[in-house]
Each structure stands twice: as structure tokens, then as C-alpha cells.
Symmetry: C2
Subunit: 326 residues, 2 copies
């Protein structure tokens, strides 16, 4: 198959490598033409996925619209805040569009598949999400992920595209649950990172993760997702890796805040986008709209958007009297 990857960050690049290993043709598009040319010339993505050589077969797309006639599948791997603007350029697309972006649009409360259905109504829409740090996937470390679509057939097509021995792809028809799990865990990871930065330890992080998956499930179910999805790879699996791995971008953002850096500094100097930052605001709003109690999300929102003292927030999270599931 011919697949366009829209977005030349770490995750888009890593997924391109999987596709090449599965003998598909890859066409890469990136936001900065100059940087894309550098990738083409050096056959490495030095800024976002350093140290990983890229295949000489990869082609490069100057315009997103070029994907429409030339490809069977488009994988969208851009930051959530740019997502709508970019997929509007795929309005006429009739193939499969796979979102691998984890976020919730603030204005609409939609996940990326919801945006896709509005902007590219003739496309088949899927999401691919799970506990998959890009650098490990790029290096062929064993990983497992979920391909989700409201149409099982579409989910299975995406599964076939990416599945290989070291990259197991499961399917789900609960695309909303898969996407909400992936988006919301980034918010929790910021709290986990703040705990790391403040030196709160692993016991409190485990308690946080336990309460968080219940909170994510509660919000997701009221939003229309299936409860059991949050116990799977794209829910619990992604939450644990993001909260515990040193490689997680959102956890790192929280850790730097916990160590005393200013939010503006951290955002400006981060490589790639920490989606937990905008998602905290979208999730806080979504929970208000759906009238769901989300104490952890609320604390992260207060830390990031209301300058609440971090230690106070973490203390509220770890010593509040609301009962966890057990």
C-alpha cells in the first residue's frame, strides 16, 4: 500500500519505519519544508528521533493535498492544536485516515476522529493508540497497540497495515474510548511528573495511577465510551507507561515544573509538544460540560492554568478523603 504520513515528529517517523518494515510505500509530509528537506538529505530525523537511520525509499510530499490522489491511507501525526487545519486539506479524501494524535479539541470537545469525520466526511476514520513510546517502536522493541474504528473492517485494515511480530496490533470498535484513554492519560502524567519533581516517590504515584484510571473511565463512559476499553492497552497500558517511563514527554514536563522551572520556560524549551498541557484545559471543560467529577484533572488544570501551588495540589491529590475504587 502507499501511505502518507502527515507530520514529521517522533511518532509519525517511527510509524513510517514500521510501514517500511512491512513493505509499504511511505510518503512523508512535514510542517517545515526546510526541515523536511533536511530529513530527505540526511535520512535521519535528528531533532525528534535522533540516531535512527531512515529508509532511502521514503518519498517526501511537498503538499498534503498530494496525498489525496497518490495514497490509500493517510496517517495524521500532528499536534492536536494543528489537527483541524491540517485535515481540512484532506476534505476530498476517500481512503482511510488514521489519527495517531492524542488530544481533545477545546472548542468542540471532540477527539481527533470527531474532527476527521467533520473535515473529511468521505474518508474511513480510524485511530491508533497504545503504550508506545516512539523511540522504542523505532528501534523495534516489542510493543502492542490498538487500531480502533467504528467500522471493524477499517480497524482490521489498519491492523493489517501495521501488524508485525514486534508490533502487535489489536482492534477495537470503541474509537472514542481508545482516543479518550490516550488523550486523558497525558494530563495524569503531568501530575505524576510533578510528584517526581517534588520527590513524592513511587507509592504515591501508584495510588495516583489507580485513582486516575477510575477517573478517566468515569469521564469516558459518560462521554459515550465503553468502560472496558479503559482497562486495555490504550487506557491502563498507556497510562502506566506515560506515568512511569523516564521517556514520557508529559511526565517530564511535570517533573520540570515540580523541580521549580516556570511553565513558560518548560513549554518553550520542550522538544515536541506535550499534549497534556492543552488537553488539561479541554478535559477540564469536557468534565464540566458532562457534569462528571474529575478531581485529578481539576488539580492539573489548577496547576497549569490557575497557578495553584504544586505542592498544595499534589498534597490534595494524595491526601484527599475521596475513596479510591478499593
Amino acid at each position: 500500500m502507499r501511505v502518507a504520513i502527515v507530520g514529521a515528529g517522533a511518532w509519525g517517523t517511527a510509524l513510517g519505519l514500521i510501514l517500511t518494515r512491512n513493505a509499504h510505500e511511505v510518503l512523508l509530509w512535514g510542517h517545515h519544508p526546510e526541515y523536511l528537506r533536511q530529513i530527505e538529505k540526511t535520512r535521519t530525523n535528528e531533532q525528534y528521533l535522533p540516531g535512527v537511520p531512515l529508509p532511502s525509499e521514503w518519498q517526501f510530499l511537498e503538499k498534503i493535498e498530494g496525498a489525496i490522489a497518490q495514497t490509500d491511507v493517510v496517517v495524521v501525526a500532528v499536534p492536536s492544536k494543528a489537527f483541524r487545519e491540517i485535515v481540512q486539506r484532506l476534505a476530498a479524501y476517500r481512503g482511510i485516515i488514521v489519527s495517531v494524535t492524542k488530544g481533545i479539541e477545546y472548542e468542540s470537545g471532540l477527539t481527533m476522529s470527531g474532527v476527521l469525520r467533520q473535515c473529511a466526511p468521505q474518508a474511513s476514520v480510524a485511530a491508533l493508540s497504545g503504550p508506545t513510546l516512539a523511540s522504542e517502536v523505532a528501534r523495534g522493541f516489542p510493543s502492542a497497540i490498538v487500531a480502533a474504528s467504528e467500522q471493524l473492517k477499517t480497524a482490521e485494515e489498519v491492523q493489517l497495515l501495521f501488524h508485525r511480530p514486534s508490533f502487535r496490533v489489536y482492534t477495537s470498535e470503541d474509537i472514542l474510548g481508545v482516543e479518550l484513554g490516550g488523550a486523558l492519560k497525558n494530563v495524569i502524567a503531568i501530575a505524576a511528573g510533578v510528584g517526581d519533581g517534588l520527590g513524592f516517590g513511587d507509592n504515591s504515584k501508584a495510588a495516583l495511577v489507580t485513582r486516575a484510571i477510575a477517573e478517566i473511565r468515569r469521564l469516558g463512559v459518560v462521554g459515550g465510551a465503553q468502560a472496558e476499553t479503559f482497562s486495555g492497552l490504550s487506557g491502563l497500558g498507556d497510562l502506566t507507561v506515560t506515568c512511569f517511563s523516564k521517556l514520557s514527554r508529559n511526565r517530564t514536563l511535570g517533573e520540570r515544573l515540580g523541580r521549580g522551572e516556570k511553565l513558560e520556560e518548560v513549554l518553550q524549551s520542550s522538544k515536541g509538544v506535550a499534549e497534556g498541557y492543552p488537553t488539561a484545559r479541554s478535559a477540564y471543560q469536557l468534565a464540566r460540560n458532562l457534569n462528571v467529577e474529575t478531581p485529578i484533572i481539576d488539580e492539573v488544570y489548577a496547576m497549569l492554568y490557575e497557578k495553584k501551588d504544586l505542592a498544595d495540589s499534589l498534597r490534595d491529590l494524595t491526601t484527599r478523603s475521596s475513596k479510591p475504587e478499593n
Copy 2:
């Protein structure tokens, strides 16, 4: 209250510190009289909880039987393989006995509370379990844990005893579920550690944890526990911290195996007991008796007791085709 702590390892000592902070009287008993005298003299438990000064008020028990007349509560914190022999000496006890030992007796398939009910039939039986690394608890890091008993009143008495701002205690009436979560996670942690030792990365560990909590829940429910208990602190919470924390003893055992050390070497040179090793055998047997499929436990059993090649086992765990929950 006057509380005897039976077992002078890291966890018994850390819980003693919590009790002293809550203004209870602590009497400590340990298996090695000489080592106990050293603790008494130096007021530190240098071998198992180094660097933490112990209260001068602590008293020391020469004989376990001394606890019977002198105390309201006995906390048993000894390795599971010594548990029955030790609690037999409390046969006449009529107070509360709290097990903080995580294991399953091989011969009987019983958790420690089951052994307690057989050996001390007049006592009120409770278990205390959760994601609580001893060194963090001793240092006052925020932690949360579950006090479980078939009698809610007993669970609440244990809760009152230990609860404090930095050590939140929740209650549960599903003592079996709480104990099985605590025991079985140690088996999974060995697999997680082997993955670390072999360099499998965090993605595969997250997938392992996701599948493992479903497997633990499946086994536990057939054994008579409540499904939701495994989503709480004593299930999922303890599983995540044990699989991800560098401080976890069972994860470390697995990591050393993964790096190529021989099992006998690792067992002999480990400080304290890695309960996952005997529990792998008990859990494997329990699953056979209950006719429950436990692919992860089976692989750990095969690695530890049948000398199965570690990389083969891990590959079987990460690439097998059985579907996770999602």
C-alpha cells in the same frame, strides 16, 4: 494500643514507625535474637531499613508468645514460608492479627489470612496491603493502603490504628481479593524485571501490566474474590509500583536473571525475601486446581522452575496471540 510486630524486616519495621507516629506502643520480635539485640542497641535496622533511626520507646519481645498477654494487636510481617510455623505460636490469641505478608501457601493454596484462621481461630483476622514500598513509608512519603477483613469492624480498627495524613488507609471486606492482588503481583514483577534485564523496554512492560491485571483478576474471581478489588490500590496499584519501581525486590530479582545471573546466586545474595519466587509455584498450582488460564504466571513458573530460556519466555509473553482486554 499496644502492638506487637512479628518480623524485623523492612516492612515490619516501617509499619512500626507508623504506629509510633500514631502514638501506639510497639513491641518488636525478630527471628534472629542476636540481630534483634543489635537493633535494640543501635536503634537502627541496618540490614533491611538502613539510614532510618528507630524510636527509643520501642520494646523488644524475646518470644512471640509474649505478645499474647501483652498486646491488643499483632502484626505479622514474616516471609510466607515461615508464616504458619510462626502464627501457630499465637494459637491462643484473642486480639486482632494483621497479616502484612504477601504470599500463597503451596500445600494448602491458602492466603495468609486463611492460615491465620486455621492457626489462631479465636483471633480477629485482617490483612494490610497496597502499593507501599517500605523505604518510602519509613521516610514518611505519602502512601495509601487497604485494611481488609471479612468483618468490616476489624478492618476499621486496623484502619484507625495506622491511618495518618501521609499514610491513608482504606477498608475492604474482600480480604481474599486484597491478599491475592498483593501475592500475585510479585510473580508478574519478576517477568517485568526479566524484561528490564533483557532490555525489552517500557512499551512491552506496559502491555505486560495490562494483561497481568486481567489475568490476576480472572484467577482471583474464580478463587472467590471480588472483581473490582483488583482495580484498586491492593491490585492495580500494587502491581504498577512493583513492576515499575527500581526499589521493588521482585522486579530486581527478575532483572538480575535477565542480565544473566543464575537463579541460585540471585536468591542467595538477595537482601530480604523475594516472595514472587515461591508464589510463582503456588500460583501456578492454584491456577491448575481452579482450572484458570494464566499465561503470564505459567511463563514465570517455567522460567524459575523449569529453566525455560528467559528470552523465549518473554517473547512468548509479548508476542503471543491471545487478545488482551482491549
